[in-house]
């Protein structure tokens, strides 16, 4: 029996050992001895070595085809040998990590079998390549001509694919399911057919306190280790049912008693404490989040209690609603209109869905009825129209009726009249209307009564009221 055959046999036995562990002592969510955990923690570190070496092998094989680089092909066999050694050793560390630190779940299992597959495929490659490696003794010109066994080439390709798959799953376990797609440009994502990133507090969550206030905390801090694909300590927090089921050591919440709830206790510990959650130096929950958890558990930890039904909870931030479509595709037109009309269309913020301000303060005289009508193609992006002191008239108000996303309109110090205001009743989203120092009267206001979105109308220095010092608005 050649040395190579004997080594292959030893390698195969080691892989059988791995398979045995995977079948008879799979990671089960329990935590075990400190020493096992200590050694296991080296897995994420060590794992990069076989990955790099295995990916290097095809590089050497291919580059070694060129006559000037034949020595590369000669070294490919040695590199493969070292890679096999690492590829067999690393899964042992991985098993130690998963088995001793309470890993469990679909991704853990897939990653584990992926690792075993890599080790097996790599070992087979090394065995099959045998002759080529021994060709180190051959003359140089023969090396390049010496054909690689087809089976070896195929198996090497399989090995590389297995490395990619296993590495990706490992990355997901360590950095989250979406660690590669999270910041992917939206267009690339769409092209790849991936779903767009979910915005926090999205619309489909329903209206329960749990869905809107508690689940987002878990999503931000807990799901990396406690969800479908990895449930450390046997605990999953990706749904209320799983939360209610608790972990290996029993329930983690006690309805009505936050202080007595294991989950609340663990997230409230000093980050230096061994039991503190989130573990391993991940950022702790902020005080507001802890407060929400405490209030919710004390209020009975119900999955169906309404969003506003937990006493004392600070109001939830309102989910963001786009005010306008994204104006950026029209930027060339916007720039051109600004230049030709002598007015400004200023983004309200860095968020393109916050819309534009129509700003005329530098040269109010430029913004007459004709200029306004030329803005029609970009009218739907305008949220706030500052038309104070402009020469617009009732004719201009007809144009404004097309500004479908307008929220705030300042018509103070203009020549508009009550007759023109009827056109504004068509503005579906108008909230604030400033009519200060115009000749409008109560008839004009009457035309706006049917506009339910309108919250503030200012009529100081008009014919509507003599002008109380304060509170003339509204």
């Amino acid at each position: 029996m050649s040395v190579r055959a004997r080594l292959s046999l030893i390698g195969a036995l080691c892989i059988l050992g791995l398979i045995g562990l995977a079948l008879f002592a799979p990671p089960d969510g329990q935590t075990r001895s400190e020493l096992a955990q200590f050694l296991g923690d080296f897995h994420p570190l060590a794992v990069h070595l076989p990955i790099a070496l295995l990916l290097l092998v095809p590089v050497l094989e291919i580059a070694g085809r060129s006559p000037g680089r034949r020595q590369l092909r000669a070294s490919a066999g040695f590199v493969l040998g070292v890679a096999v050694l690492c590829a067999i050793g690393t899964p042992y560390l991985g098993w130690l990590l998963a088995w001793s630190e309470g890993f469990e779940g679909g991704f853990v299992t897939q990653h584990m079998w992926g690792g075993i597959a890599v080790a097996t495929a790599a070992l087979l490659c090394w065995t099959l390549r045998g002759g080529v490696t021994d060709a180190g003794a051959l003359a140089e010109e023969q090396v390049s001509r010496y054909p690689l066994p087809t089976a070896y080439v195929g198996l090497l390709a399989v090995t590389v694919l297995a490395v990619v798959f296993t590495g990706y799953r490992g990355g997901q376990l360590a950095h989250g399911d979406n660690h590669l797609t999270e910041h992917m440009p939206a267009r690339l994502k769409a092209w790849l057919g991936l779903p767009p990133s979910h915005s926090s507090g999205g619309g489909e969550r329903g209206t329960t306190f749990f869905a809107m206030r508690i689940q987002p905390i878990f999503e931000q801090h807990c799901l990396l280790c406690h969800s479908q694909n990895k449930h450390k300590g046997g605990l999953r927090l990706d749904s209320y049912d799983h939360l209610a089921r608790g972990g290996k050591d029993g329930p983690v919440i006690k309805a009505g008693d936050a202080i007595g709830s294991e989950l609340f206790r663990r997230v409230s510990l000093d980050p230096g404490n061994e039991d503190a959650m989130p573990a391993e130096g991940k950022p702790p929950l902020v005080a507001e989040d802890r407060k929400l958890l405490e209030l919710w558990i004390n209020a009975g930890a119900s999955p169906i209690v309404g969003i506003d039904a937990v006493a004392g909870a600070p109001a939830a931030p309102k989910p963001y609603e786009p005010l306008t479509p994204d104006y950026r595709p029209e930027q060339p037109l916007i720039t051109q209109l600004e230049a030709s009309l002598g007015l400004r269309l200023v983004p309200r913020s860095q968020n393109p869905l916050d819309g534009l301000i129509l700003r005329t303060a530098s040269f109010p005289a430029h913004c007459n009825d004709a200029a306004l009508s030329k803005l029609a193609p970009v009218a739907r992006y305008i949220v706030d129209a500052e038309l104070s002191r402009t020469p617009i008239t009732d004719a201009g108000l007809k144009t404004l009726a097309q500004f479908s996303n307008l929220r705030a309109l300042d018509l103070s110090h203009t020549a508009i009249t009550s007759a023109g205001l009827g056109a504004l009743a068509e503005l579906p989203k108008l909230e604030t209307l400033n009519l200060t120092a115009t000749v409008v009267d109560s008839t004009g206001l009457g035309l706006l009564r049917k506009r339910p979105s309108l919250r503030r109308v200012y009529v100081f220095q008009t014919k509507v009221t003599p002008g109380e010092p304060v509170d003339s608005g509204g």
Binding site: S349, A361, Q461, G473
Partner: protein, 484 residues
């Protein structure tokens, strides 16, 4: 080409940046030349920086009560002091605090209750001092913060800290940061304007200097333009006899050409600022006469502000001017009223100060409100620190003084998306230590920036190797309870 740029980007490559961030500026310059640009001259289409999120406030008017008004006579009602007249301040309250040289040597620290009564006003039930009968009428618009504190116990460092975020001179003022972050609403007027007011009481007055409203390390065009408090807010506004607008324009174009040549050679951003100033001055020749011409004000204005608002340079005139500037698109107006530093004869002095400023303050808030501008104009009132509960020197029921006190003072804000009619923070029975919800000056700054749509950690400018920001390196907190 005009596109939103990051707040840290300069509008034109400056020499300092070549030294500081060589590579990226070289890349920038390369890109600019590829696109056939000559570099962007200031005042043309300076790239717009944008708020991080949609702002509540578009403008601010900061009523700066320089010299530090006493919180005990104004907004921090302490009824328990009435029974403690001339009693010693318990040692446990002061707890070893280092005092100023003005009172550290006093044999005792006798408690001086407020000589002025307080009453509750409005639906909000704010306790307002009888010093402010007018402001009390808009109590429901105010968010009174009783727990502001600062790091400095003397005027200059404290006034710099609250104006610029740092106790040393050389940092940009709040108004400069906002001008830098938001740009102008009206390019025909300055973005940041400072008005100083005539004083009704002139004992122990601290000097003001443009360190309080300079742009610091930001490009110089973000400094405030300080208008004079006399009859002519801007001198030499009219062209001299024999020079018409056309001739003035020709002259300016010539000077600008020379300055552009110089800028091409030495790349000193101050040159661009100078060009910008000449252009701003030229534009102000047209825009300022209309601004300061009060003949278009309706009689209701004078009913509200009082006749004193017709006298240039008074606090009342400045408040009216601030409203006119806000209407025309000035971003940030800071009105200074000095002489609140009442170490002695406090009751007499504070009464004069209040008589001078109470009605215009009320008028400004009420006027903005009725004109529909309070929703997006943030009004800020306050000084640089508080004053001690114990009397400095001589104490009688109606005559006493108060020393500087950095541990707590009161400010208020109104409009600009601030929650109206609330009181925030509490001090102890002596108005000496904060017992609830302290607000450091940097927290106040963070909150102001928040109302303008900025994350205070993101409105930055690279200088001396640091991404400098108004709130500095110590984490600042937005007082979200103040935000509507």
């Amino acid at each position: 080409m005009r596109k939103p740029t990051k707040p840290t980007e300069l509008s034109s490559p400056a020499r300092r940046d070549f030294l500081g961030q060589g590579g990226s500026v070289l890349a920038w310059a390369g890109l600019a030349s590829l696109m056939g640009q000559q570099g962007i001259a200031l005042g043309e289409t300076a790239p717009t920086r944008l708020p991080n999120f949609a702002p509540k406030a578009k403008r601010a008017i900061y009523l700066f009560m320089a010299g530090a008004p006493s919180q005990i006579e104004t907004w921090d009602y302490k009824p328990k002091l009435e029974s403690m007249f001339d009693k010693d301040l318990p040692e446990s309250v002061r707890s070893g605090q280092v005092l100023t040289g003005m009172t550290a040597g006093q044999a005792r620290f006798p408690i001086a209750p407020s000589a002025f009564k307080f009453q509750q006003h409005g639906r909000a039930g704010h306790w307002v001092s009888d010093l402010f009968p007018w402001t009390a009428k808009v109590a429901d618009e105010l968010a009174v913060i009783k727990s502001v504190y600062t790091d400095a116990i003397n005027h200059e460092p404290a006034i710099l800290l609250i104006s610029t975020g740092v106790m040393f001179a050389g940092k940009p003022a709040i108004g400069a940061w906002l001008s830098y972050g938001l740009g102008a609403i009206n390019e025909e007027l300055p973005t940041f304007v400072v008005l100083t007011s005539k004083m009704p009481w002139t004992v122990n007055v601290q000097a003001l200097s443009n360190r309080l409203w300079s742009s610091g390390f930001l490009p110089p065009e973000y400094s405030a333009v300080a208008l004079r408090s006399g009859v002519n807010p801007v001198l030499y506004l009219k062209d001299p006899p024999g020079v018409d607008r056309g001739m003035r324009r020709v002259m300016l174009d010539g000077v600008n050409q020379l300055n552009h040549h110089l800028f091409e050679r030495v790349k000193d951003p101050e040159i661009n600022a100078r060009i910008g100033q000449y252009e701003m001055a030229f534009r102000m020749q047209s825009s300022v006469p209309e601004l300061i011409d009060l003949s278009d004000e309706p009689s209701s204005t004078w009913d509200l502000y009082g006749e004193r608002a017709k006298e240039p340079g008074t606090f009342a005139y400045n408040c009216l001017m601030a409203r006119r500037m806000a209407e025309r698109g000035v971003r940030f107006t800071q009105i200074f009223l000095r002489s609140w530093d009442h170490h002695t004869t406090l009751p007499r002095a504070v009464r004069l100060m209040a008589e001078d400023s109470d009605r215009p303050t009320y008028a400004l808030v009420a006027d903005l409100k009725r004109r529909g501008m309070l929703d997006d104009t943030l009004v800020i009132w306050g000084g640089e620190f508080g004053r001690t509960v114990y009397s400095q020197g001589h104490l009688t029921q109606d005559d006493y003084g108060r020393d500087h006190h950095p541990r707590c003072f009161s400010m208020w804000m109104a409009g600009g998306g601030i929650k109206p009619g609330i009181s925030y923070g509490e001090t102890d029975d002596f108005s000496y230590n904060i017992v609830k919800d302290p607000v450091h000056v940097r927290d106040l700054h963070a909150t102001i920036l928040h109302q303008f749509g900025f994350d205070h950690d993101k409105l930055t400018f690279r200088f001396q190797g640091l991404d400098q920001k108004l709130t500095g390196v110590i984490p600042a907190k937005i007082v979200s309870e103040l935000c509507a």
